[in-house]
C-alpha cells in the first residue's frame, strides 16, 4: 500500500432508519495522520457515521474501505481486529474491574491472548505497557482504583485509552469531551492530541462544541441531514454562514 492510499474511504454510504435519512451517499476520504473533526446538529448523522464504519449499523448501500480493504458489513469485532477502534459518547467500561484491569483486557485482546485461560492477566509485560498507557492519559494515579471512582473526564479518557491500547490504525471518538466539565474540556483534548501526535494513529472525532473543533481539528466535516455539506480547514469552514446555520441553527 503506498502512502497515498486513504486510511478510510467511504463510497456512497447510505442508511435510512424508516423515513429518517441518517446517511445519504457519503463520500469521505481520510488520509494517514489526519485528525478530523465531525460537527453537526443533533440527528445530523454524526454518530451513525461512526456506527456504520464500525459495523454496528449496516449500510443500505455503499462501501467502506479501510486501507483499501473492503470492510462493509463486517461486525464490530472483526472491524476492530482490522485496526479500527472507537470510543463512545457514554464511556463503555468494565465497571467491576480496576482501571488498570480495564486496560489489561484491551492489551490481552490486542495480543490475541484474550481466551488464554491458563496464563494470568497480570503479566509483567502487560502491566508495564498498561501503566505506560495510563500515564499517557494521565490516569496512572487511578490504576488500582475501581472504575467507579474516576471523575467523568477520567472515564472519557479511560474509554479512549481502552481503544488506544488496541493499537489501532484508525481511532474514532464519539464526543470525547461531552459530559466533561467546561474547565476540563481543553485539558482532555490536549492530552488526547498529544497522545495521537506521538503515535501513528489517524483519528476522527465527533464533537458538537465548535470551539473544540476549531482549536484541535486539522480538518472538519460538517454533517447535515445525513450529508456532508462542508469539508475543509476549521477556520474557513466554520465561518461559513450556511455551516453555522446548519450546526447552530443560526448564522
Amino acid at each position: 500500500m503506498d502512502e497515498g492510499t486513504p486510511v478510510l474511504q467511504t463510497v456512497e454510504l447510505t442508511r435510512y432508519f424508516g423515513m429518517v435519512r441518517a446517511a445519504a451517499a457519503i463520500n469521505v476520504e481520510v488520509r494517514r495522520g489526519e485528525l478530523v473533526g465531525i460537527v453537526g446538529a443533533n440527528g445530523s448523522g454524526k454518530t451513525t457515521f461512526l456506527n456504520l464504519i464500525t459495523g454496528y449499523v449496516k449500510p443500505d448501500r455503499g462501501r467502506i474501505l479501510f486501507m483499501a480493504q473492503d470492510c462493509t458489513g463486517l461486525p464490530p469485532r472483526l472491524v476492530t481486529k482490522l485496526g479500527i477502534a472507537r470510543s463512545f459518547q457514554i464511556p463503555q467500561l468494565y465497571a467491576g474491574l480496576s482501571v488498570l484491569e480495564n486496560v489489561l483486557l484491551s492489551l490481552a485482546a490486542e495480543a490475541g491472548h484474550s481466551t488464554s485461560f491458563w496464563q494470568p492477566l497480570y503479566r509483567e509485560r502487560w502491566i508495564e505497557e498498561g501503566m505506560q498507557t495510563l500515564e499517557r492519559f494521565g490516569l496512572q494515579a487511578y490504576a488500582q482504583r475501581p472504575v467507579g471512582e474516576l471523575p467523568e473526564g477520567g472515564r472519557k479518557l479511560l474509554d479512549i485509552a481502552l481503544s488506544f491500547a488496541l493499537k489501532p490504525r484508525l481511532l474514532l471518538m464519539d464526543e470525547p469531551t461531552s459530559g466533561v466539565a467546561i474547565d476540563d474540556k481543553f485539558q482532555v483534548m490536549d492530552t488526547l492530541v498529544k497522545v495521537l501526535q506521538q503515535s501513528d494513529i489517524t483519528a476522527i472525532f465527533v464533537e458538537h462544541d465548535m470551539e473544540v473543533v476549531q482549536r484541535y481539528g486539522q480538518r472538519v466535516l460538517v454533517f447535515d441531514n445525513g450529508q456532508v455539506i462542508a469539508d475543509g480547514q476549521p477556520e474557513r469552514v466554520l465561518a461559513h454562514p450556511e455551516v453555522r446555520k446548519a450546526v447552530l441553527g443560526r448564522e
Binding site: T54, P75, P76, R77, L78, T80, K81, A85, R86, F88, Q92, L93, Y94, A95, G96, L97, L100, E101, L104, L105, S106, A108, A109, E110, H113, S114, T115, S116, F117, W118, Q119, P120, L121, Y122, E124, I127, M131, A143, Q144, L162, S163, L166
Partner: protein, 323 residues
C-alpha cells in the same frame, strides 16, 4: 475479590480438611465428602453467576457424571475411579460443547430456562427409559477401586475422602488460574459490558462457550464423585430441584470467590443433616429461613463474613501486586 492468588485462609482451611479424618467420626467424613463433591457443581454454577448469568440446569452435567459411573458398572463392570473420574468429566464437557453452541447465544432468563429445559429432557429420559436406566429404581454402584485396588472396608471412607479432597484441591487451583487469566477476567467483564468486549475484537459468545465447557466438566466431575460417595444413582440427579440446590449453595457461600461455594456446600450439607434430624417436617423451611437471612444481611454469602473479619485484622497491601 483478590483473584491473583489463593487467599492464605484457603490454604489453612485446606490443611484443616487434610487433618479432619483424625478428628471427626465417620459419618461426618461422609457428609464432608459429599459436600466437597457437590461443591464442584456449585462452583460450575458460580462461574456463570460471576458473569451475571444463572443456570437452572446444571443437574444435566451432574447427572451425566453420575450415570457415567452407573452405566460403566452396569454394562462393563468397570468401577475404576482413575478411569471414571476423567471419563465423567469428559463426557459432560462433550455434551456442554454441543449444547453450549446455542446456550452461548442467550442471556438472562432465556439462559436460565434453556439450561433447565435441556436438563429436564435428560431427566425424563432417565425416568422413562427404565430398561436402560432402571427408571426410578436407579442403579446401584459398588465402591470404586483405585488403580485396581479396593481399600479395605475399615479405611475405605477415609481413603475416598482423601481422593475427593485431592481432586477438589486440584480443581480449586485450576479454577483460580482460570479466573486470573484473561478469559476469567473477560468472563467477569461480560456482566458489566458486552459492547466493550466486542469492540476490543473479542467474541462474547466464545467467552461464554469456553466457560460453558469448563462448567460442564465440573458438573460432570461432581456427579462422578457423588455417585461413588452415595453408591446409588437415581434420575433425581438430573432433576431441576438438584439444579436449584447448586444455585442455592453458590448463593449461600457466596459466588464472588472460589472458597465461597465450598463454604456454602459444607454449610448446606450440615444444615440439611441437622435440620432433617431435629425438624424432619420443616427442614426445607429451615433452609428457606437461612437463605432469607443471607440475602437480607449477607448478600455476598457466608464467605464474606470471613473476608470482612480478615480485612479488619490485616492492612491492605498497596502498590501493583504481581501475580
Amino acid at each position: 475479590m483478590e483473584l491473583r492468588r489463593l487467599p492464605r485462609a484457603a490454604l489453612v482451611a485446606y490443611a484443616l480438611l487434610l487433618a479432619t479424618p483424625l478428628l471427626v467420626p465417620s459419618w461426618v467424613l461422609f457428609i464432608l465428602t459429599l459436600a466437597l463433591a457437590k461443591f464442584l457443581a456449585a462452583l460450575a454454577v458460580a462461574l456463570f453467576l460471576w458473569a451475571g448469568l444463572v443456570s437452572f440446569g446444571h443437574a444435566l452435567f451432574y447427572g451425566i457424571g453420575a450415570y457415567t459411573v452407573g452405566f460403566s458398572a452396569k454394562w462393563f463392570g468397570v468401577r475404576e475411579a482413575l478411569l471414571l473420574v476423567p471419563l465423567g468429566a469428559l463426557l459432560a464437557a462433550g455434551v456442554a460443547a454441543l449444547i453450549g453452541l446455542f446456550m452461548a447465544r442467550y442471556r438472562g432468563v432465556f439462559f436460565a430456562m434453556l439450561n433447565l429445559a435441556v436438563s429436564m429432557i435428560l431427566y425424563a429420559a432417565l425416568l422413562k427409559l427404565y430398561w436402560v436406566t432402571g427408571g426410578t429404581d436407579g442403579i446401584g454402584v459398588r465402591s470404586p477401586t483405585f488403580l485396581g485396588v479396593l481399600p479395605p472396608r475399615e479405611i475405605f471412607r477415609t481413603a475416598y475422602y482423601y481422593v475427593t479432597l485431592v481432586i477438589t484441591g486440584g480443581v480449586i487451583w485450576a479454577v483460580y488460574r482460570f479466573l486470573a487469566s484473561p478469559l476469567g477476567y473477560f468472563l467477569k467483564a461480560l456482566g458489566d459490558n458486552e459492547i466493550r468486549i466486542e469492540y476490543s475484537g473479542e467474541s462474547v459468545r466464545r467467552i461464554l462457550y469456553l466457560t460453558y465447557i469448563l462448567s460442564g466438566a465440573l458438573g460432570g466431575l461432581a456427579g462422578v464423585l457423588v455417585a461413588f460417595t452415595v453408591g446409588h444413582i437415581v434420575p433425581e440427579y438430573a432433576f431441576w430441584i438438584q439444579s436449584g440446590e447448586f444455585v442455592f449453595v453458590a448463593l449461600l457461600g457466596g459466588f464472588g470467590s472460589v472458597p465461597g461455594p465450598l463454604v456454602g456446600s459444607i454449610a448446606f450439607e450440615f444444615i440439611r443433616t441437622y435440620a432433617s434430624k431435629y425438624a424432619p417436617e420443616a427442614w426445607q423451611m429451615t433452609l428457606g429461613l437461612i437463605m432469607l437471612g443471607i440475602i437480607l444481611f449477607r448478600p455476598g454469602g457466608l464467605w464474606t463474613i470471613y473476608e470482612t473479619l480478615a480485612s479488619r485484622f490485616t492492612r491492605s497491601e498497596g502498590g501493583v501486586a504481581r501475580g
